[in-house]
């Protein structure tokens, strides 16, 4: 039972991070119908920028959490700018191109981002400076660190903020209108280009937050970390029903919990035949099952035929 709760908590932490990244995928997909393959690499850039800022400020005498917060701010700003530039350079011209063309440019952007990151940060794994408290608490027999609590709370706050933004503001209404039908939204006086750029910028900001969380929680960051993280987050977005914000959150949390529980129990369930190295298989297998029985994801609208 202790293992169960422990893995549940680990899954919740991982899932909150997946959910933040998945939101970026789902927002862009909802408006453009595009898989933004470079999104995972924006997470990576966010993590590495924050890490560098933290390293520079590590000896400044400021309190640790403050430094991490500054690092987070810088990372968010850098990633927002990056998201804006990427949309402008690589996607805007291709809005009416054949469906696969923007997918290929997205892959190209992802490769370029990784290589540029490698020029700046090298091929090595970087460890996050020990700025955050490492104290743990015990909840129902399971250990949870303060950092993990902070991650879950911060993710919840950010997601609540996003929901408010999308459902309660003018910008959010314009975003929903553009997702529904860009042409008509344009006729109603919505500046579609600005809205799409804003979507990328907001998604990238979420990615930066997630990147900082990953590197703070697991203690490392490197130039290739965005790839598998992006893959998992995209899986989460599809699991929840891509294009739906609530779906992305649900999918992210579910995927995190499934993975953590899978890693914890797969050995016992199969009598030791499969070990926790099959963790990733587990995640994809669940995804395939869900899609076979519910082809538009858990909370997706019925738009399987639209693509």
């Amino acid at each position: 039972m202790d293992i169960f709760i422990q893995q549940l908590i680990n899954g919740l932490v991982l899932g909150s991070i997946y959910a933040l990244v998945a939101l970026g995928y789902t927002m862009v997909y909802g408006i453009l119908g595009l898989i933004n393959f470079a999104h995972g690499d924006i997470v990576m850039v966010g993590a590495l920028v924050a890490l560098s800022v933290c390293r520079v400020l590590a000896d400044s005498g400021l309190p640790g959490p403050m430094i991490v917060l500054i690092g987070l701010m810088v990372a968010v700003l850098v990633c927002m700018a990056l998201g804006f530039v990427i949309e402008r350079v690589a996607y805007r011209r291709l809005r009416n191109a054949p469906r696969l063309a923007p997918l290929i440019t997205a892959i190209g952007v992802s490769i370029v981002l990784q290589q540029i990151a490698m020029l700046f940060w090298g091929r090595n794994y970087h460890s996050f400076p020990p700025l955050l408290p490492t104290s743990t608490r015990e909840i129902a027999g399971a250990q949870i660190t303060d950092v993990q609590i902070a991650i879950v709370v911060a993710a919840a706050l950010v997601m609540a903020g996003l929901m408010l933004l999308v459902h309660r503001t003018r910008l959010g209404r314009a975003m929903r209108a553009t997702a529904e039908n860009p042409a008509i939204a344009g006729l109603m006086g919505v500046n579609v280009n600005v809205i799409i750029a804003a979507t990328f910028v907001i998604g990238s900001a979420l990615a930066a937050v997630a990147g900082v969380m990953v590197s703070a929680n697991y203690g490392i960051a490197h130039y290739h970390m965005g790839f598998i993280l992006g893959l998992k987050a995209f899986t989460a977005a599809v699991l929840g029903g891509i294009g739906s914000l609530g779906g992305a959150m649900l999918g992210g949390l579910l995927l995190g919990i499934i993975e953590a529980l899978g890693a914890g129990y797969i050995g016992d369930l199969t009598g030791g035949v499969f070990g926790s190295n099959y963790q990733d298989v587990f995640a994809f297998f669940v995804l395939i099952l869900v899609l076979v029985f519910r082809p538009s994801g858990l909370m997706g609208e019925k738009l399987a035929e639209r693509a």
Binding site: P98, L100, I104, V109, N277, F284, V292, P295, R306, A307
Partner: protein, 353 residues
């Protein structure tokens, strides 16, 4: 009559060109480049296989390399000391095509209802699952040797002659890479022939119809389920053959050759060359297989000449330029470098609207 004659002439010229190419390349810039050509031909086979699924039938497959892996591991298991089996090539390659085709159908069956990006992510997941299994099937029973991969695989033998050793022909010694080159050219031509014939067949037209509009295709009496499954199986079987050849050529396989990046690479070949257009796809495969290698060799001397020192290591420069090229080609030629004439017209029409 004249038309027929010029067609024969063109075929003969292409044949001669393909036959002397390794000598020109090998004597001109070195045998390492013939090896690059060999790999380029494997990529041509892969790209043509994927072109059936993505280009003709319009089903986005991001896990195609899994079938390459299936073919390669099948060859590796059936003719290496791993299980002490040494099956002949003529038995293993068709079996590889068959098993890979079966895997294709297995992947295709549950995904028939999915379209577009859902299909993409499921195929991607499938590709990763295959790779993870290959990586971990060394316990409890050792089948694939895990991350170490399988080595000492038998080379391809034709009529008892291993292609891995230089061969004396009329007083000339042909290095192994030349022998593999000829084998690969023949098989690539066979695959080109099959795809060209398929394209004009009832099945090929059904694939294109599904790509353009699945509901309309169904209304025209096409059994979309079977035809889609056939596309998956057919594309996969080409991948299986290429995989078997890869295993025999390398005499070594390991899971890291079959990463998602490879699937993406093959997809880029198809899309960059011009989806659904066979000459375009071949061009895409050759370009993406050869140019990065050229950069790998050329990057250091060129940088030294320009800046006096090496600023970027060749590997990252290669990837950087690859990424930039993908973006640039798609921005300026979104239908690919050499698109089908009809598709090109459609696209231009769509833009002037």
């Amino acid at each position: 009559m004249r038309h027929k004659q010029s067609a024969w002439l063109a075929t003969a010229l292409i044949g001669i060109a393909l036959a002397v190419l390794p000598f020109v390349v090998g004597l001109g810039i070195g045998n390492a480049w013939v090896r690059v050509l060999d790999f380029a031909l494997l990529y041509v086979m892969l790209a043509l296989g994927l072109n059936i699924v993505v280009g003709m039938a319009g089903l986005l497959d991001l896990g195609y390399i899994a079938f390459y892996a299936v073919g390669a591991y099948l060859y590796a298991l059936l003719s290496s000391p791993q299980f002490g089996l040494h099956w002949p090539v003529w038995a293993v390659l068709p079996l590889g095509a068959l098993v890979a085709g079966l895997f294709g159908a297995v992947l295709g069956a549950p995904t028939l209802r999915l379209r577009g990006d859902y299909l993409a992510i499921v195929t991607l997941g499938f590709g990763e699952i295959v790779r993870i299994f290959l990586n971990n099937l060394n316990s409890p029973i050792n089948i694939t040797n895990g991350p170490q991969g399988i080595s000492q695989i038998d080379p391809v033998r034709i009529a008892g002659v291993p292609l891995s050793r230089p061969l004396e022909v009329f007083g000339h010694t042909l290095p192994a890479v030349y022998l593999y080159y000829y084998l690969f050219v023949l098989l690539a031509l066979l695959i080109v022939f099959i795809t060209v014939r398929l394209e004009d067949s009832r099945i090929g037209r059904a694939w294109v119809a599904i790509r353009e509009d699945e509901i309309a295709a169904k209304a025209c009496g096409i059994n979309t389920r079977n035809i889609k499954l056939l596309a998956f199986a057919m594309g996969a079987s080409f991948g299986g053959v290429a995989g078997g050849l890869f295993a025999g050529f390398q005499e070594f396989v390991s899971p890291e050759s079959f990463s998602l990046m490879e699937s993406i690479m093959v997809l880029c070949m198809v899309v960059l060359g011009g989806m659904g257009h066979i000459p375009g796809v071949i061009l895409g495969a050759l370009l993406l297989a050869v140019l990065p290698e050229a950069l790998r060799y050329g990057a250091v001397p060129i940088q030294q000449a320009l800046f006096g020192r090496v600023l970027l290591d060749p590997e990252s420069l290669r990837m950087l330029l690859f990424g930039v090229a993908l973006i640039a080609v798609m921005l300026y030629r979104p239908a690919g470098l050499w698109p089908e004439a009809r598709r090109k017209r459609e696209f231009l029409g769509a833009r002037t609207k």
